[in-house]
Symmetry: C2
Subunit: 129 residues, 2 copies
């Protein structure tokens, strides 16, 4: 039904890192696509609502999106420099969060966990500069 939404989804699927809406929009335009910024936002929102992509907030308040390869619960290891992202599982962390919540009488416990660092590639290019 929505070729625009697919186009947005494709961009995300072909990228290993989290991308911002403006970012996706810019790439679509430079690829020659005729699409408006509003539609990109709508597509990203729909994809996020449908659980097709993961959403994160950057420190400066931007929403960034990523098409993750697994449907199950996972977290992200994100390179601070290049943004490339590895999906990681953390069963211990899940259990810890649950336990911490229970310990203080909290119910319906959820959690957000993100790990940041400098990836091997970026470490190299930085030291060799």
């Amino acid at each position: 039904m929505s070729s625009r939404r697919d186009a947005v989804h494709d961009i995300l699927r072909s990228s290993a890192s989290f991308r911002s809406a403006q970012d996706v929009y810019a790439q679509l335009r430079s690829d020659g696509a005729k699409i408006g910024l509003t539609t990109v936002y709508r597509a990203l929102q729909a994809l996020a609502d449908g659980g097709m992509v993961d959403v994160l907030r950057t420190d400066d308040g931007e929403s960034v999106y990523r098409a993750c390869t697994t449907d199950s619960h996972h977290h992200h290891l994100v390179c601070r420099q290049c943004g490339s992202t590895v999906e990681v599982a953390g069963p211990d962390v899940e259990r810890w969060a649950e336990a911490v919540g229970a310990e203080h009488g909290f119910t319906e416990v959820t959690h957000t966990v993100e790990v940041f660092g400098t990836c091997a590639e970026c470490s190299v290019s930085r030291t060799s500069r």
Copy 2:
């Protein structure tokens, strides 16, 4: 030097939950303080820079601040309803994050971990309603 900054800090210290800048501003004004929104933002920023308060981003992009009682690294267990917050330590999580980073060749690994839930008090008031 800065009585306004102290006023802002006091508000945070007397609150168990994370507060937004606008929120703090509103309370100060309703308390009768003559202070501008700009100054509140500046005070919060200074306090955050100095490590006196912790900062979080809400899902809708707002920055929220809290004066934490411990200087050491910790995480938060936040009630989804009333916002009241418990500081929690998670040595296992620290180790896990470090290990995950190392495993994928990442260096300078940091992490963000927040746990959300419904606190005992809010659970009660909801079921009894």
